[in-house]
């Protein structure tokens, strides 16, 4: 299988590495010799120097016999053009492009259909905005993942000290909170991830991950005794694409939004485009500015400038001045493990989400999507139960699943079902499975759903 990657930036680099490890024939095109050198040194791929929007270069890369084209340069135009020429040169190639600007994403059908024919548009900025909005929709949540096209959610929350479930064994959970369809997927205690069984007990200070139908979400949060004030006052630092889209999404009467940016011209533009948010001009690391705008009073401070040092500093300042929660944007993967220890509540990374989306799409076997929780210690898989698979037709308690892995829930038709021990899985059910990282291959085996590629 041959995959052509246009653009050897951070996204191109990481995705080529992941694909090359999985024994794919990867060709990377970039205009910068330095970027290509970095890729070539780190991974076993072929590199071609040139513009990805040039038909000649695409031909040289062997676009004719290739299966997939990933256009992931920083420029939307080059990505679109590159897909256009690839489409002209080789009709059957599957094209994925990273497109961020609203000028194009608002007209997604125009680039999907016709002469360009992009199969999937990856818009990491939008995904980041969506994930921040998701976090804001559940105050107190540390992490929210969505499955089955948003029907099923896996939510991690800080349990308040007065929660009625504290001291309860999971076996008896329903006695405490009533018969609601919910499953406790994982517990993080003292920085350690526990995939619990019925005898485990919920304790004070735990972060609890639970899976449920999105329609039951508010009810469950209520029953768990989580009563955080809804997020109203938001300060966004950085008025780039993400900051702007976020402010736009919060441009309604439910939020008091402030948007801080350093560039006077950008501020002018933002103030023209946005209605309610207050646009401020100043430096996110300048204490005076933050104090003047009462950053300590904010329910959430979101630092999404292009500069991660600034983002981290802003969040730390905000935290020290009393802001309720902070979210930072990170580009460099090396910083990720630092975020939690230094006290920043959430992190978002557009590049990582771009890479994940691309991989999810490429690995279109029976495993539909994966998401990692608690910094990769465990992974959530979403897969469709195949007819010949071992899991079908047996009650769940008899499944040959490794310890530390469990079926959280599944979707059958339009219903979300939270399984009990005697529930039987049918072919076509869309399963959401949580597994500790070291058991994933065993789970895949049980599912008979190896990471197959298109």
């Amino acid at each position: 299988m041959r995959i052509i990657i246009v653009g050897a930036g951070e996204v191109g680099f990481h995705i080529s590495r992941r694909l090359a490890v999985e024994n794919k024939e990867v060709i990377v095109i970039d205009r910068s010799a330095d970027a290509l050198k970095r890729v070539a040194e780190a991974t076993d791929v072929k590199t071609i120097k040139g513009s990805g929007s040039s038909p000649g270069v695409l031909q040289e890369a062997g676009v004719k016999g290739a299966d997939i084209l990933l256009a992931v340069t920083d420029s939307d135009e080059i990505n679109i053009l590159s897909c256009y020429f690839a489409n002209q040169l080789s009709k059957d190639i599957t094209k994925l492009a990273r497109i961020r600007h609203r000028d194009y994403t608002d007209y997604a059908n125009l680039v999907r259909e016709g002469a360009i024919g992009i199969k999937k548009i990856i818009n990491p900025d939008q995904e980041v905005v969506d994930s921040i909005l998701r976090l804001m929709s559940v105050p107190g949540a540390v992490e929210i993942n969505e499955f089955a096209q948003g029907k099923i959610r896996l939510i991690g929350v800080n349990l308040p000290p007065d929660s009625p479930v504290i001291g309860t064994k999971l076996l008896n959970l329903r006695d405490r909170i009533g018969d609601v369809p919910v499953v406790i997927a994982a517990i993080v205690r003292d920085d350690e991830l526990i995939i619990p069984s019925g005898v485990d007990e919920i304790r004070k200070g735990d972060v609890v991950y639970f899976a449920c139908d999105i329609r039951d979400q508010d009810d469950i949060i209520d029953r768990l005794g989580i009563k955080y004030e809804p997020i109203k006052k938001v300060m966004i630092v950085g008025g780039g694409n993400i900051g702007y889209q976020l402010a736009k999404a919060l441009d309604n009467k439910h939020f008091h939004t402030r948007l801080l940016d350093n560039d006077p011209e950008r501020c002018q533009y933002l103030s023209e485009q946005l209605d309610r948010p207050i646009i401020l001009q100043g430096d996110g690391t300048d204490q005076e500015v933050l104090r003047e705008e009462n950053i300590g009073d904010m329910d959430m401070v979101i630092a999404v400038t292009g500069d991660e040092e600034t983002n981290i500093l802003t969040c730390l300042l905000a935290k020290s001045l009393g802001a309720r929660s902070t979210t930072t944007r990170i580009n460099n993967f090396a910083y990720m493990p630092l975020i939690d220890p230094i006290g920043i509540d959430h992190l978002v990374c557009p590049r990582l989400s771009a890479i994940n989306s691309l991989l999810h799409f490429i690995r279109r076997g029976q495993v539909i999507s994966t998401a990692s929780i608690k910094a990769d210690e465990a992974e959530v898989l979403e897969a469709i139960a195949q007819e010949k698979s071992d899991v079908v037709g047996k009650p769940i308690m008899e499944l040959d699943f490794p310890r530390g892995s469990l079926v959280l829930c599944f979707q059958r038709g339009h219903d979300v079902i939270i399984p009990r021990g005697d529930t039987v899985i049918e072919p076509g059910d869309r399963l959401v499975i949580l597994s500790a990282r070291n058991n994933i291959s065993k789970v895949e085996k049980a599912l008979d759903a190896k990471m197959e590629f298109i």
């Binding site: 002018q268 933002l270 103030s271 209605d275 207050i278 001009q281 003047e292 705008e293």
Partner: protein, 483 residues
């Protein structure tokens, strides 16, 4: 500044005005009233002098109209129209002095509706028709009319259009200015025809229906009766006129889009919403206030008379069905405030325009907001559109000049011995193109008793108000005349 070119265009405008005198002439012939000769003479003089200017300077016509020339053409063109338009009154001996004739004529063209006629019903019907017709011509604008019908004005017509159309930023509905002007006149014509028919259903004859339609659609206010619309004493007619006064007070671009099947644009337009909101709030307050003071026996009557007066003053029409000077002081205060506000930008109404008041308030709020958030970057917006800073500056300048000239004119009127309330009211009613004020120029009085100097300065006020200050006042700035 090419004088000959300016006079050439003014000649064309004057000839057009002269031709419109044929319409009242037809009524004069039909009724056999003494207006026949005056209209024939006036039309001949006007068309002849217009043609003389037009053909005399025909060679000067080349190039486009510059910004300065545009303003000179519009300001002087209006003055010429006012003077020529006064000729029928002069020849028919309607008024004792020439100043009175020009006052009445410009009061018509500027859609003010302030009259120096003491007994309206005694005047020949052709003269009354001419008064109302000047309203209708001036309402949508004689320049806009000329742009629509005179092919050679197309190039550079935008300068003329900007100088005449009310509001801080004129809308250009069509790519070509000629088509824009045409569209506006068509909309104007459609509403006029509808109103005429509706008024005839209410029992008016064609003559009265036409004259009142002209007065309504242009937000003018000349009636054919001594006691204005009250003479018909019909709730139906009152409500028809109320509705059409409001229609005339709304931006005609919105009407155009409404007729094109896009009513949402109107409903979402912030100026329209504020305009309608003001009308409804004021009506409610006045109705309650008037009803509590026992002026009317039934609520229906109170609603009927207050809504008519509020619409009449807010849109700066100036028709009357009740003497609001007898109403409680609060009502008079509100009506006085309405005189300042006026209609929407791009309507035929006068006053400062709702749009400008909104921009001034928004801008003032911005200043407060910046005191609270010193680093905030914010823009004044109308709906979703950002209002450029130069427009805001223009509005501030307009506001200061408007108030300044209104006060100055009031001082001049007061200096002639008129009492202070009437002086201020007359000045406000003229610069706002309203017509009736309070005091000795109230809804049941007229302007005939004022001294000549007062009339002359009020005439200037009317033109200043109709052309929105800048176009006229610029002629008095020395810098304008420097090469």
């Amino acid at each position: 500044m090419r004088w000959q070119f300016v006079l050439h265009i003014i000649g064309a405008l004057s000839a057009c005005v002269g031709l419109t005198m044929l319409w009242p002439l037809m009524w004069a012939v039909w009724y056999g009233d003494p207006g026949v000769m005056p209209f024939i003479v006036s039309a001949i003089i006007t068309v002849a002098s217009g043609a003389a200017l037009f053909f005399g300077f025909a060679r000067s016509r080349k190039g486009v109209v510059s910004h300065r020339e545009g303003m000179a053409i519009v300001a002087l063109g209006w003055l010429a129209a006012g003077i020529f338009g006064g000729l029928p009154f002069l020849f028919a001996d309607t008024f004792p002095t020439f100043i009175d004739c020009v006052f009445e004529s410009l009061s018509g063209f500027t859609t003010t509706g302030a009259s120096v006629m003491t007994d309206i019903e005694a005047a020949p019907r052709s003269i009354l028709f001419w008064r109302s017709l000047t309203h209708w011509l001036g309402g949508m604008g004689i320049i806009v009319l000329s742009l629509a019908i005179l092919p050679f004005l197309g190039v550079g017509g935008m300068q003329l259009y900007k100088a005449e159309v009310p509001g801080p930023v004129p809308d250009k509905l069509k790519p070509r200015i000629k088509d824009t002007a045409m569209v506006l006149w068509k909309v104007y014509l459609v509403f006029s025809v509808i109103e005429t028919i509706l008024l005839m259903f209410g029992g008016m004859d064609l003559f009265d229906a036409l004259c009142h339609t002209f007065g309504t659609m242009a937000t003018g206010g000349f009636s054919t009766k001594n006691v204005s619309v009250a003479a018909f004493d019909s709730a139906y007619i009152d409500y028809v006129i109320t509705v059409f006064m409001l229609i005339a007070g709304i931006n005609f671009s919105l009407h155009y889009l409404l007729l094109k099947g896009r009513p949402k644009v109107m409903l979402r337009d912030p100026e329209f919403r504020v305009f309608l909101g003001l009308f409804l709030i004021f009506c409610t307050v006045l109705t309650v206030s008037v009803y509590m003071a026992n002026h009317y026996d039934t609520t229906a009557d109170a609603v009927r008379f207050t809504s008519f007066q509020v619409a009449s003053i807010l849109t700066t029409t100036g028709f009357a069905t009740a003497d609001y000077e007898l109403w409680p002081a609060l009502c008079q205060g509100i009506l006085l405030f309405c005189m300042f506000v006026g209609g929407c930008a791009g309507s035929t109404g006068g006053g400062m325009k709702v749009m400008r008041i909104m921009l001034l308030l928004k801008q003032s709020y911005q200043e407060l907001f910046r005191l609270i958030h010193p680093r905030a970057v914010s823009k004044v917006k109308m709906g979703k559109t950002v209002v450029p800073d130069d427009v805001i500056r223009g509005v501030w300048g307009f506001f200061i000049l408007w108030i300044g000239l209104f006060v100055l004119a009031a001082f001049v009127v007061a200096s002639t011995g008129v009492d202070v309330v009437s002086s201020f009211a007359a000045s406000l009613a003229c610069i706002g193109n309203i017509g009736p004020g309070i005091g000795s120029v109230g809804p049941t009085d007229n302007y005939a008793h004022l001294p000549e100097l007062a009339k002359a300065s009020l005439t200037l006020c009317m033109v200043l108000g109709r052309l929105e200050i800048y176009t006229v006042i610029i002629l008095f700035v020395p810098e304008f005349w420097r090469k």
